[in-house]
């Protein structure tokens, strides 16, 4: 399971990554991008134009299937549960709903060491605590290098919290993921 979090500028970074994945990709990918609560479904539509994998606006209890990209809907938290996604309208976390920390912490609990977290550009620290939770359970944390991020605040916060995080420039991040050796979950 791959979980990705981003805020400002995230759509561009995310598009770069998704467009590098081919249709043989198997690992499910869950995405939180900070977005306005009335941002409708544009995000999913935009990402779909960049990806050969199906990009899905998650509905509650959506089954987690291989080779699909799951996007947190506006104004809901997205959580990984046993074999499916759950949504929540609990209070914003770090002023964000969806919150990256909520997705990451739920993945740490549900999937543990099988989780790979990818942290992209971001203008708040939302995501740092969740990345630390994933690392604590033996999962991998990969951070977009702050120099290549439009907003370095989140990458820097994760690097400070998670010493084991791998720091990779955006361009290399895409090819790093699409290496054929990536094991399916």
């Amino acid at each position: 399971m791959i979980v990705i979090g981003a805020s400002v500028g995230g759509v561009r970074a995310l598009s770069t990554i998704l467009s590098s994945l081919n249709k043989n990709w198997t690992e499910p990918i869950a995405v939180v991008v900070h977005r306005a609560k009335d941002s409708e479904d544009i995000l999913t539509t935009v990402l779909q134009t960049r990806s050969v994998l199906p990009v899905i606006d998650v509905v509650d209890k959506e089954p987690i299937q291989p080779g699909k990209v799951y996007v947190a809907p506006a104004d809901y938290h997205l959580l990984v549960d046993q074999g499916c996604f759950c949504l929540s309208v609990e209070n914003p976390v770090n002023f964000a709903r969806p919150s990256i920390d909520v997705l990451f912490e739920s993945a740490a609990f549900a999937v543990g060491a099988q989780t790979t977290a990818i942290v992209l550009t971001g203008s708040s620290a939302d995501g740092a605590a969740g990345a630390a939770a994933i690392a604590a359970r033996g999962g991998r944390v990969i951070v977009q290098s702050p120099e290549t991020a439009e907003s370095p605040i989140l990458p820097q916060a994760v690097i400070a919290r998670v010493p084991s995080a791998r720091v990779i420039p955006l361009a290399a991040l895409a090819s790093f993921l699409s290496e054929p050796s990536t094991p399916p979950t």
């Binding site: 209890k61 959580l79 309208v89």
Partner: protein, 270 residues
């Protein structure tokens, strides 16, 4: 014992002590809420929390509150209320009397949103809203109808986006920090404790709003509640869910006609 088993164990103890059954709640969000409680009670593990609630009723009380509260706002998803106003209310207007159930009403924002909508459709005086929740605390707050003044700006915008016809400030009285909903909007509402988990149907309704309540349940419990809601609707009664909830995958899927797929409004077929 892994954390999943510890959670199960904790929820079984909660059931034993309180009679409230959370064992079929979605563990992802239960884990989140329980983790907060562990942190706030300055404990180290789920097991410690489980031991503590046996001997400290106030710790149990706080845990129950964390497990039952859900957040809501007025005219959340204005498009939902617009479809309700344009497609559903005209049907209710043809009835001599309309009964509507807001299941899992929490602090009541949605109840009053509905009351305002019915009032503007000239239907409120021959309607009754049944507002239920598992939590007595939440019911007391819903009944009090007092909300922070600071949320009124958002609520007012949502009211207009939902197609509100009047001046939103006509519906409340404000003091410096809070507002109270005007009494005429509180008249035709019956508040009652009802637990979707164990309680049965208590009436037949022309409409049921159960929005963003079942997202905290697992699929087993969702299936049960969907059955309960279906049984509680009159023929051609309407069901409204949250924007990211669906009746897809439920047994009742083919027993409803979709009125708005986007706003998740369904009509019961016979």
């Amino acid at each position: 014992m892994d954390e999943n088993q510890q959670l199960t164990h904790l929820l079984e103890t909660v059931l034993e002590l309180s009679g409230l059954d959370f064992t079929n709640y979605a563990y992802s969000s239960v884990h989140r809420r329980v983790s907060h409680r562990i942190h706030s009670e300055k404990l180290a593990s789920i097991e410690e929390l489980r031991e503590k609630i046996r001997t400290h009723p106030e710790v149990l009380e706080r845990l129950l509150r964390a497990l039952t509260v859900h957040v809501t706002s007025m005219f959340r998803d204005p498009g939902f209320f617009r479809v309700l106003r344009e497609e559903v209310v005209p049907v209710w207007q043809t009835y001599p009397f309309a009964r509507i159930w807001v299941a899992g009403c929490s602090s009541g924002e949605e109840v009053y949103s509905l009351a305002i909508l019915l009032h503007e459709a000239n239907l409120y005086r021959r309607a009754r809203i049944y507002a239920t929740d598992i939590s007595e605390d939440m019911l007391a707050r819903a009944k009090a109808a007092v909300y922070p003044l600071s949320s009124m700006q958002d609520f007012t915008r949502a009211y207009h986006d939902a197609g509100g016809l009047g001046d939103f400030s006509d519906y409340y009285t404000a003091d410096r920090e809070s507002v109270i909903i005007r009494p005429f909007l509180r008249e035709n509402i019956v508040f009652a404790a009802h637990n979707l988990v164990g309680d049965t149907s208590f009436n037949e309704f022309h409409g049921i709003l159960c929005r963003n309540v079942m997202i905290y349940f697992n699929r087993t419990l969702q299936a049960r509640v969907h059955r309960l809601l279906y049984e509680s609707l009159t023929d051609f009664g309407y069901l409204g869910l949250g924007r990211s909830e669906t009746i897809r995958y439920t047994e009742q899927e083919t027993h409803y006609e979709e009125i708005s797929g986007r706003e998740r409004i369904y009509k019961k077929l016979i």
